[in-house]
């Protein structure tokens, strides 16, 4: 390998020697010839280009140009109460996992720009400092939800079998569907919603299409808690903690500051009982938070005492606590004999006895029904004044896991010809062993209503773009059942 392969050489002699045959030999340069504009950055080229640039700048500037011409385009008819240049606030709500979150959205000339919690909603009930509107919270999910509205990746049109179609095509197909004699092979798979309007529409649809079956699937499901409540009370109820009245809060694998439909309310109530100067428990007092959890969460960060245990060990630890409090048999699991567990559980049991009536147990949705039932028993005994229960709006519905398993079975048995998937992304988030993505191939016609063309849309025959919650009317219920407009 010659040194020229690297493109560098140390002397003229070396260059001469290494030149490949057939090429002109290097000769000492003729100064006139070398000034021939070959080098793109020669002095002459530089001057030429600069001169041209200056001349063009002169042309551009010589026109005595004003600013760029701008237009003012006022609305033909300005909506009532809208003042151009001034923001407006609208009360609305945002639904996540089938629970409404009350919001106030700031809008500028018709465009929403900011999401906040609604301090005047009964479920939010003011700011952290009682009697003020300050810091009425909203969740990170609510804050982020506004970005979907402007996301250029949002789906904008109807899609049929991978090709763009029009909405009237879709309406034509719906019209044909309605003419069918029987709707026994029509199914709906809807995401959970607390909206009474959607429930009413569902009843109307079931009336208009006899035979149609409506399934509900929700990955952010609190079904374990429902099962636990049935074990404890014999019926489906929903526990609502009043953390501003709780001296001791025990979170059993429950990140109630983030992953809870009442997270905003719980966070505020917890904070109200936290500062000794303004505590709702009385001047100079503050609550105490115990977190027994398997993953580091925001609740664990806030906790005064945090016990990290595996998810499946939360039950024996809770059983140990119950046996210390009620004198029942201790669980046989090894974990309760660990020194750190023993120390914490014993101290916790003493504190719970001392604060009887003002203790709250919160259980996360990952935990099995047994833990929820156990916590419900403890709440009845030790949290009588800080936990209340409300009726569930749909006490009879099957669990989400059962519903989607039923649908998968129906598809396998060729009982589904038409499937409407309303919201959600079940191909992505349904239990993997059902293999819903492959099963959708057995459904003759499937429709996916979604904000994005996602994994589910790719496997359905129709994709219909969905309006963002800030683009449409609606309603819903918060965790405590309060009716809320959207």
């Amino acid at each position: 390998m010659s040194s020229l392969d690297h493109g560098y050489w140390k002397s003229i002699a070396e260059l001469d020697r290494d030149l490949p045959s057939g090429e002109a030999e290097f000769t000492p340069a003729d100064p006139e010839a070398s000034d021939d504009g070959v080098d793109p950055l020669s002095r002459r080229n530089f001057a030429k280009l600069m001169g041209a640039s200056l001349a063009l700048a002169g042309v551009a500037g010589a026109g005595c140009k004003r600013y760029q011409r701008e237009e003012i385009v006022p609305l033909g008819r300005r909506p009532e109460d809208q003042i151009p240049g001034v923001t407006q606030e609208y009360a609305t709500s945002f639904e996540l996992g089938g629970h409404a979150h009350p919001l106030v959205v700031t809008s500028y000339e018709g465009r929403p720009i900011k999401v906040d919690g609604n301090p005047e909603h009964p479920f939010i009930g003011g700011g952290v400092v009682a009697g003020t509107r300050r810091h009425a919270g909203s969740s990170a999910f609510a804050q982020g939800s506004i970005l979907h509205l402007y996301d250029p990746d949002r789906s904008t049109g109807v899609n049929h079998s991978g090709k763009a179609a029009s909405f009237s095509d879709f309406k034509t197909w719906i019209g044909e569907l309605r003419k069918q004699a029987s709707f026994n092979k029509v199914r709906v798979l809807a995401e959970a919603t607390s909206s009474p309007t959607v429930q009413a529409l569902r009843r109307r649809l079931e009336g208009a299409m006899p035979g149609l079956i409506w399934h509900e699937w929700e990955p952010l499901s609190w079904d374990n808690e429902r099962a636990g409540m049935v074990q404890a009370f014999g019926k489906v109820v929903r526990p609502i903690a009043e953390l501003d009245k709780a001296e001791t809060v025990v979170a059993l694998d429950c990140d109630f500051f983030v992953d809870h439909p009442a997270a905003v309310r719980y966070g505020r109530d917890f904070a109200r009982a936290r500062h000794p100067a303004t505590s709702t428990l009385g001047r100079g007092r503050m609550n105490r938070l115990y977190a027994i959890e398997s993953a580091y969460s925001a609740t664990g960060v806030m906790a005064d005492h945090r016990l990290p245990v595996r998810t499946e060990h939360v039950l024996p630890v809770a059983q140990m606590l119950e046996s210390l409090l009620t004198g029942g048999p201790a669980p046989r699991a090894e974990v309760v004999n660990e020194a750190k567990v023993k120390r914490l559980v014993e101290a916790l049991a003493r504190e719970i006895r001392a604060n009887t009536g003002r203790v709250v147990f919160l259980v996360g949705r990952r935990q099995p029904a047994a833990v929820h039932a156990l916590a419900a028993r403890l709440n009845q005994t030790y949290g009588s004044s800080a936990v209340r229960h409300v009726e569930d709006p749909e006490p009879t519905r099957p669990t989400h896991a059962e519903a989607i398993a039923t649908l998968a079975r129906e598809i396998k048995q060729q009982q589904v010809e038409t499937l409407f998937i309303l919201g959600g992304n079940p191909v992505y988030d349904a239990p993997a062993d059902l293999d819903l993505g492959a099963l959708l191939g057995q459904v003759a016609t499937s429709v996916h209503l979604a904000e994005y063309a996602d994994e589910t849309s790719a496997r359905t025959t129709w994709h219909v773009p969905r309006a963002h919650y800030l683009e449409c009317w609606g309603d819903g219920r918060t965790w405590d059942g309060t009716l809320t407009m959207q």
């Binding site: 011409r69 003012i72 385009v73 609305l75 033909g76 151009p84 240049g85 001034v86």
Partner: protein
């Protein structure tokens, strides 16, 4: 260096043309930059063609409409806001309802085909001006916009330079009047009126950068 030898006859050129040009040229360029590029030259008097030949001289001058009949949000908003076509149609449903010139207004009102007015008073995008802050504190419309009641087609009356803004922010009294009279054209403030308004409304115009460049 043979290439830089010039013929004999070019010598007078060198003496009478090139040398004076080199001496006078920079002065000329600086003068042109200062005079031609000056906002007084460039912008004052800018009078673009508008989509509708709306005459402020007729409406605000001859007929005496208050500025705030159309620019009705000026006291609440940063923007004076060009009115929606619906405001025009309040009268023009009955006045000149078939006028050819008003066709774009009717299109805006009935067919939602908005009017595209050309901005005359155009501040740079890095300047934030708030109409309500000025109008409610007694800075008259005519102070910045000139005698709009005499303009058939609106033109820019003031240079709108930073110097011009700051002159008033440093010494607002000559341009202050009773806020009730902000829309009066050709207003002559009484002696001491500016000082009285300034004291009563506690007007202390800020001059720090972030007031306007925010």
């Amino acid at each position: 260096m043979a290439r830089f030898l010039f013929p004999e006859w070019t010598q007078p050129l060198k003496k009478y043309v090139i040398t004076p040009a080199l001496l006078v040229g920079p002065v000329y360029i600086v003068l042109m930059a200062a005079l031609v590029k000056d906002p007084q030259t460039l912008r004052v008097g800018y009078m673009p063609e508008q989509p509708v030949p709306y005459s402020h001289a007729l409406h605000a001058g001859e007929m005496g409409l208050d500025c705030r009949y159309c620019h009705n949000v000026v006291e609440q908003s940063a923007k004076a806001a060009v009115p929606p076509a619906a405001t025009c149609m309040n009268c023009h449903q009955t006045v000149l309802p078939r006028s050819e010139k008003l066709l774009p207004v009717r299109q805006a009102f009935f067919e939602n085909e908005p009017l595209r007015w050309v901005r005359v008073t155009d501040l740079p995008d890095y300047v934030f001006f708030n109409h309500s802050a000025h109008v409610t504190r007694g800075v008259g419309c005519e102070t910045c916009h000139g005698r709009v009641d005499r303009m058939v087609r609106v033109w820019q009356a003031q240079p709108l330079t930073m110097q011009w803004c700051l002159d008033c922010h440093r010494n607002p009294e000559p341009n202050l009047r009773e806020p009730a009279n902000v829309t009066v054209m050709g207003y002559q403030p009484a002696a001491g009126e500016g000082a009285a308004v300034k004291a009563r409304l506690k007007i202390n115009p800020p001059t720090d950068c972030s007031t306007c460049h925010r």
